[in-house]
Amino acid sequence: MAAEGGNGKGAAGPSGARTYPDFSAPTVDKVMVEERAAALGKRSIKKETKVAGLLLSIAMMDLTTLEGKDSPGKVTQLCQKAMRPHASPEVPPCAAICVYPKLVPVAKHALAGSSVKVASVATAFPSGLSALDVKLEDVRRAVAWGADEIDMVIDRGALLAGEKTRIFDEIAATKEACGQAHLKVILETGELGTYDLVREASQIAMLAGADFIKTSTGKVTPAATPAVTLVMLEAIRDFFYATGKRIGMKPAGGIRTAKQALHYLVLVKETLGDAWLTPDLFRLGASTLLNDVLMQLEKERTGAYQSGDSFSKD
């Protein structure tokens, strides 16, 4: 299937055949990458570093609800939480709320005047197995309803079948359909099977115009892991060296504890460095992480763990 509209990258070559950029990427050794990712989990994050990291992880959080039973009431509550996660003044708002397209107007309304963005999943989330025009219409509709960010899914079946150019074309077309909205490309790494394919898919997504690459929908296990995130961060680094463009990273799914959140921050800090330690370039997609982070912050402030009921369940 050809790309809809000119993305400027998959251009027609002299013979009339479409040409594509180089998707090739360095191979990844599973044992060593998992070892490195685990080693970074052993950094000892204490005291002021812990507090700063926890606050930063809140500012980087895409507070997410992606359930069939999501309703305007639920989403409105979550928006309140995202704008003001905790009464203490140093706790920043979350980066964004992530919802299904139909709930974008509700979130937009609830978040009016705040810094919190509205992210919407689209493109026949979570499988991506629909016709391209349907997927693009999904995107356009979400953007029209007010989404600032679009979290698209790639067609994993097509990628596993070797249709790399098709994946490239679909991402490029989705990017165009996004207009001013930022595009996060979900690779669903838990379905790709190898780190090599994760690395290659990252490369394809960035070449096709992704602003962010994202691990998972949260609907498949395993979702985000430190090792798969490390592989994607390394792909982002290579893309930066090749093009000068800073692409963002979003691990999502299965990130539930403050300790995990800090582990991801360490991965970013020691792989991409200072420039990526900002919500502009790093997000954590999570639904239940926030309260654990708040609990740890209160523990640091008061010296004691508070009851789970001290934090609002939204």
């Binding site: 570093t49 000068g244 460095g273 900002t278 502009d280």
Partner: protein, 512 residues
Amino acid sequence: MTAKETIAPATNGETHAAPSSPARPAHGAALEFGKAWTYAPAPEAADHVRIDPRYELFIGGKWVAPSSGKYFDTVSPSTEQKLAEVAEGNERDVDLAVKAARVAYEKYWSKLSGIERGKYIYRIARVIQEKARELAIVETMDGGKPIKESRDVDLPLVAAHFFYYAGWADKLAYAFPGRSPRPLGVAGQVIPWNFPLLMAAWKLAPALAAGNTCVLKPAETTPLTALLLAKILEECDLPPGVVNIVTGAGATGAALVAHPDVDKVAFTGSTDVGKRIQKALSGTKKKLTLELGGKAANIVFADAPLDQAVEGIISGIFFNQGHVCCAGSRLLVEEGAFEPLLRRLRDRMQTLRVGDPLDKNTDVGAINSKMQLDKIRELVDAGEREGATRFSTPCELPARGYWFAPTLFTGVSQSHRIAREEIFGPVLAVMTFRTPDEAVEKANNTMYGLSAGVWTDKGSKSFWVSQKLRAGVVWANTYNKFDPSSPFGGYKESGFGREGGRQGLLPYLEVD
């Protein structure tokens, strides 16, 4: 402190739109490490660790004052503070220790069944595990290695070695089918300062399992954990004299290897000393194993998993400040991968945290001694004089103690001293090659042959290269992996004999 004070402006997504922010030219792109979200100090508490002000010699199950009455200081290389004073054993003390070992061999140890010997060794392993934290802290204080290494690598391996060889004690009859192994008698063992307790384990565990008694001479700069081990042996009720520990400097070690009643000498250390030992032992009946220096090649092909190769290179040369006989101190890179690999390597080196070895986030600790630091400096100066290009990480080094920033040299030739001599420090010499044949030729073009690394995604190439390499250990797509069941040892001037595995029993046995 809040996030805003430590983190660059956090503006929630507005500045990122690629079209509005002009892309920096790719050739000017650079990553920056270190200013944002810095780690607070995370020191391992050492206040529960008790180090005696003075340690005597451990001979015949007793703590004995040295006949010379002399003691020497052992200092922490990261603070230059004195930790304890330690007895300096001389020829007389060595003689007492060897006699005690002979008596113990004849009276107790050779009379015990394998299963009984095994019980003692299992007990030692278990107590080491129980005291692992304390031992790791002392190892780090006395030697300067990062606590994360002594805690996560040294101590687990120490216990694993005792456990592994405990298992062989009652199975010796089956170790070499059709042959009947017998112990040799008294083993004199001289160990180095880079892995003090681990080397003690490598020496003692197989010797004891095979039925020998031991006199161990720890390194002058790192005697403390061996002395704590002596206390553990007491706690385990090991019969007196089965293990004797005689501290001291080179002369003490020389007296031990020269003692006429020692049946077997095992030495790990420098090639120079190894050669002297071999000379001293020629014409005697003593069995000898030597585990000496190295100048290992880490060979990276263009089809390698580059980011993981970088981890192997980092571990290969900066693990334990490069004080590793099997350190991957020569990096051989296929020309086509040179730029991307070196860019990664320089970035990665900047994330190495150099400093207080007791800090749980320290990656590179202190150089073990002033003498070793001087040797590293001399060779690095030679590298610069000979025309190689030096890159050292711009890290801040503590004012006191012995430190050397992680360093790599490019533009190195096979003829440079930094490519030929063992530096035994955090200094990597990078060279290039064009074909697999050339890689193998360069890798083997050294007087050493202890270890090597091969990095390629192609299994057949990996096997082809490792078969051509004359090195005792070849790691493929990994580095510095140790297991008590795997034999370790060298070719050429890296020594002879194997430690670890079933093969590691042989040097301690007479096998008909």
